[in-house]
């Protein structure tokens, strides 16, 4: 084991783990930074057990998931299981975002998908994993995941179109009728 390997590992996973944490802690950058630091310190402690041939991304993903579950358990809730963390944001986090309506709507739409589909969409489109890495994490063949992700994103697209139509209609309704000039 040498430092160069660890640096490569860090560069490859840093952004994804950050996003994974960020979306699950209510889009709080400061809190995400603290947690990501702790996650990578844990990874460093156990780095001698890491084998990139067995798992290139799922090893650190599992550490992050467990660490986040421990964090929620100790701070806010008692009965949080690591598996729940994977889709944790669907119930709580997105509500915490004081963002624009579009973002809230996105998470609401995401919530209409089943847990597996939500996980696929976030892994692929928000956190940036490829199908090979997703296959290692989830334990399903790449092809299956590709098809399932494609279906999930199509569902989301349909929902987004409806949302856009609704938005347009609302704008149209809220517009005042032009008065006649006398």
């Amino acid at each position: 084991m040498n430092k160069r390997d660890f640096k490569r590992f860090y560069d490859k996973n840093f952004e994804r783990i950050y996003r994974f944490v960020y979306f699950r802690v209510g889009a709080d950058h400061e809190l995400a930074e603290d947690l990501v630091s702790e996650i990578f310190l844990k990874a460093l402690e156990k780095f001698h057990t890491y084998d990139p041939k067995i798992s290139s991304a799922s090893w650190i993903y599992t550490i992050a998931k467990n660490h986040l579950a421990n964090f929620f358990r100790s701070k806010y809730f008692r009965d949080v299981e690591p598996l729940e963390v994977e889709v944790w944001w669907q119930d709580a986090t997105w509500e915490l975002i004081d963002g624009e309506r579009d973002k809230k709507a996105f998470f609401k739409m995401l919530g209409t998908l089943n847990e597996f589909e939500q996980k696929l969409v976030t892994l692929k489109y928000l956190e940036g994993y490829n199908y090979q890495e997703m296959s290692e994490m989830i334990g399903k063949p790449k092809v299956t995941l590709r098809v399932a992700t494609h279906r999930a994103i199509n569902k989301l697209k349909n929902l987004a179109q409806k949302y856009e139509l609704k938005e347009i209609n609302q704008k149209f309704k809220s517009r005042k009728p032009a008065g006649k000039k006398i």
Binding site: M1, N2, K3, R4, F6, K7, Y10, F14, E15, Y18, R19, Y22, F23, A27, H29, A32, E33, V36, S37, F40, L41, L44, E45, H48, D102, K103, F106, Y125, L126, G128, I153, L156, K157, A160, E164
Partner: protein, 258 residues
Amino acid sequence: MSLKKLIKNLKAESRPEKKYKKALWQHLDHKFDHMYPAARRTVPRYALVAAVVVFVLLGVGSGAYAYDSPGVIEGHPLHFIKENIENLEGKIKFSPEKKAEWHLKMQERRLQEAEYYARKKNEFRKQLLERGINEMGLSLEEMQRISEKEQRQLMLQHLSDMEKAQIEMLQKIKPQLSQYSQQVIEQMIAEQTRRMHERVGMLAEEDQKPFEPIRMRRFRILPAGMPPIEIESSSGTIITAEMLPPGNGDMQIRLISY
């Protein structure tokens, strides 16, 4: 807003700061050295190679600049490089011919430096001229050790050419300098010419000597009045001589040709 754009915005918003990434890596790097001291490498290999390449290039570049530039003289930060290269060059000259040549080259370089300063900066550097003259003296000393007459003559010719060039250069730069510097230059020219004539005259006298010390390799005593014989000297010179009648009990040989 389209789904694609929404996802793109979310990704941009959730991107960590570069400063944070760098700071975290520095912390982890430090921890790594503590946790795995065996795997620690103070300088990465590629960085070491790059550093060596940069160092060599800088060294070669500044060495070449220092050696070639007449502006690099005592007091210049690169002067020590120039001095070391010149000294090294002198150390690998072994024969008197090569050493004399090297001293002449050094003289020429000092002259160029003096000329450069006089022309570019209107500064008269007496030390440089003195060092040049000193090199000329050392060159003459080496020339005295050259055994071959022709070679020595050639070197002497070179030396006198150099001297002429030096005097011409001094004459050229004189008007640009102060009156005091002009006086010093005139004195130097006079002194140099005197020393030069003295030394060249000394060498010329030596060249006119008919005999070099000869150790006979073959020697036969011949009765006086016999025809001349050829004798080979230790240096391979064939001399023709004849025996003379002994005077005061000493044997006498008269040289006919060599």
